[in-house]
């Protein structure tokens, strides 16, 4: 762990910046996944359960196979299956996707805890890190610059998603599905197919975010490992106005908020520890209050979501 005491207040800032990069990764993947899902007109509130299943599967496969990359892939596959389940259930007429999301949280976390109980290894093989700070003798700076490759994968995923939405026929069709399903259907766009595919890929992305939780330092599996990050990432999409690029920026902000408690604690500020740890939740709530409005004329909201008042 960094010892920011040695450089005082700067230590807190550096620990925060490092924490923001580290902590942003699950937010990035989940918010990009949710962004894709919601662009198709579907809401998946079950991301918290899906993130946990991703984290658990990654640990399991990495531990058994010895390959952390295989673990990350398994996380994507398992979480994708859960997304497919959510998509299938919510395609049934009269099934409410908000309620189905709540059920997915309980189902996903239940499954993850069920299979996670058997883990005996304290740690699974970890993903390699990019050690960009080898030149610095200061441990805080060095530690902040040990960056997971998933950080760059996440940035790339955001850029790719942005490109797909803006520049490709597939992206246009997904957006049409989410904005005006009736019109899209009459144009011959297979709306059900697009919703199912978007929800499945969205959940698979969230699973990769989950793999970061168990395959990066400290790399242990515990039932509290996600701590609502899947949920906050869903809220973050509203704040990011359904734009993949803004999802990336907002994820960094949330990662930083999450690092606030631990950074202050390691700098010797120990009062109100639990309240500082709650700062991401408070930030999310504040951000939602600020960015929503009763009239629900949110810029960028997919039309199908707006009409159901689901923003």
């Amino acid at each position: 762990m960094p010892n920011p005491d040695s450089i005082g207040a700067w230590g807190v800032a550096i620990a925060l910046a490092g924490g923001a990069v580290r902590g942003s990764i699950p937010y990035m993947f989940v918010s990009l996944g949710e962004c894709l899902t919601e662009k198709s007109g579907r809401i998946n509130l079950g991301m918290e359960g899906i993130l946990l299943m991703g984290a658990m599967s990654a640990f399991w496969v990495s531990d058994r196979s010895g390959s952390p990359w295989l673990g990350a892939l398994a996380a994507a596959a398992v979480s994708g299956l859960l997304g497919l389940l959510h998509a299938g259930i919510t395609e049934l007429p009269r099934v409410n996707d908000v309620a189905a999301g709540i059920a997915m949280i309980i189902f996903g976390s239940g499954l993850a805890f069920f299979f996670g109980k058997q883990f005996v290894a304290p740690m699974a093989p970890q993903l390699p890190v990019f050690d960009l700070g080898t030149g610095f003798s200061n441990t805080a700076i060095h530690s902040a610059l040990r960056i997971s490759p998933l950080f760059f994968v996440g940035i790339a995923a955001g850029l790719v998603l942005h490109y797909l939405f803006e520049r490709t026929r597939w992206g246009l069709h997904v957006r049409a599905t989410g904005d005006a399903p009736e019109a899209a259907r009459s144009m011959g766009i297979p709306v059900r197919w697009h919703r199912v595919v978007a929800t499945t890929i969205g959940a698979a992305l969230a699973g990769v975010g989950g793999s970061h939780l168990t395959l990066y330092f400290p790399g242990i599996w515990s039932e509290g490992i996600s701590g609502g990050q899947g949920l906050m990432a869903v809220a973050l999409v509203i704040f990011a106005r359904w734009s993949p690029l803004r999802c990336l920026a907002a994820s960094l902000l949330f990662g930083g908020a999450q690092a606030l408690g631990p950074s202050l604690q390691s700098a010797g500020v120990t009062g109100f520890y639990h309240l500082f740890n709650a700062s991401p939740y408070l930030l999310t709530l504040a951000v939602m209050i600020a960015s929503c409005s009763q009239k629900r004329t949110l810029a960028g909201i997919p039309g199908a979501l707006m009409r159901r008042g689901a923003g």
């Binding site: 259930i89 409410n96 309980i106 239940g110 805890f113 999310t284 009763q294």
Partner: protein, 357 residues
């Protein structure tokens, strides 16, 4: 959203039963796949829940907070607001009740317990009313805000328990000072079941009366069924939604008070035992009808009580129960799709009969 239908008839009984049966079957396959005997697992759950007077009492002790937490989701759902902040309202209610109990400890037990109940209900009520109000006035999704409030509620509990309200004698496991033993919530005559069960039953009956037999209940139904109509006929939407949120939250807060006053005598991390989350399932299984919340809570109380036995007898982790709950939750939601269809099947059959004659 078709959440507030509460019609009579076979449909509303048969479809949920079929959905639970389907969920149970899937869970049975899951158990077999996990290497346990499904029949054995169900026998254990039954034995742990209803096998003897002793296990009945165990189930009823757990049914009490489930009834109150079930109402916490069911009541706001009837006005069209889905909230899942039960756990947060539960711990905040428990914390407020502890504070009130410690402040009034020198008084008569009845006064002290009343103060605890009122404090718990007001705190829990405000907690859920906040989420309901944010959705109504600001368009903030109440599912997300109320789940966030669960985390915030737990953080406040931990902060108070480890900070200002900490009993210095609680070294390894931070907790508040204890409410005097003389002020504990009583037991129902001849049993280990505490009076919290009465609170739960009375709350369900009162909620049923309020929704089905009063003018307010009628207004609430209009708001839940069609907000636009409600606005057109001049109903005070905000007021009705805030009231439903407050009443629901008050139930969860009262459950937190019961947990402190009947079981722990003090607030600590262990009052957050997950009843709030199971309460969500209770409400959805009951399709947000207070009387069905009563029945479903007893059944799920038994299921919750069986967690330990599954671990001992079948070597299954305690999360097995959560898997069961998740599967049943999903099948219940999927069964929503059958409601319109079953009716149309009946119409089809009748038409076919007409055609033949």
């Amino acid at each position: 959203m078709n959440l507030s239908k509460d019609g009579a008839g076979f449909e509303t009984v048969l479809i949920p039963l079929a959905a639970v049966a389907a969920g149970t079957l899937i869970f049975a396959l899951f158990c077999e796949w996990a290497g346990a005997s499904a029949v054995g697992v169900f026998r254990s759950i039954y034995k742990a829940g209803f096998g003897s007077w002793f296990s009945w009492q165990n189930s009823l002790v757990r049914a009490a907070p489930l009834m109150l937490c079930g109402l916490a989701t069911a009541l706001p759902a009837r006005v069209g607001i889905i909230t899942v902040g039960n756990e947060g309202a539960f711990v905040i209610g428990g914390l407020a009740a502890t504070a009130a109990g410690l402040a009034t400890a020198p008084a008569q037990p009845l006064i002290c317990l009343s103060a605890m109940a009122v404090a718990g209900m007001v705190a829990g009520g405000a907690w859920i009313a906040l989420a309901a109000g944010l959705q109504h006035y600001r368009g903030v999704n109440a599912v997300i805000s109320s789940l966030l409030l669960n985390y915030i509620g737990l953080a406040i509990l931990l902060q108070m328990v480890e900070g200002p309200m900490r009993d210095p004698a609680s070294l390894n496991f931070p907790a508040t000072f204890a409410i005097p033993e003389t002020h504990q919530l009583g037991r129902i005559a001849g049993s280990r079941v505490h009076d919290g069960l009465l609170f739960g039953v009375i709350a369900c009956l009162l909620a049923w009366f309020l929704l089905e037999k009063t003018v307010w209940g009628m207004k609430a139904k209009v708001v839940g069924g069609n907000p636009r109509t409600a606005k057109l006929v001049g109903l005070p939407l905000g007021q009705i939604i805030l009231t439903a949120g407050f009443l629901g939250g008050a139930c969860a807060g009262l459950a937190g008070m019961v947990e402190v006053a009947a079981i722990h005598s003090r607030a600590s991390q262990s009052i957050s035992a997950g009843y709030g989350y199971v309460g969500i399932l209770v409400a959805f299984l009951a399709r947000h009808s207070p009387l069905r919340v009563l029945i479903v809570s007893v059944v799920l109380g038994a299921v919750v009580a069986s967690g330990g036995i599954l671990q001992r007898d079948h070597d299954l982790p305690d999360a097995t129960i959560a898997v069961f709950e998740g599967i049943v939750f999903l099948t219940i939601l999927a069964s929503e799709t059958l409601y319109g269809r079953k009716f149309s099947l009946a119409v089809l059959a009748r038409n076919a009969a007409h055609a033949e004659s």
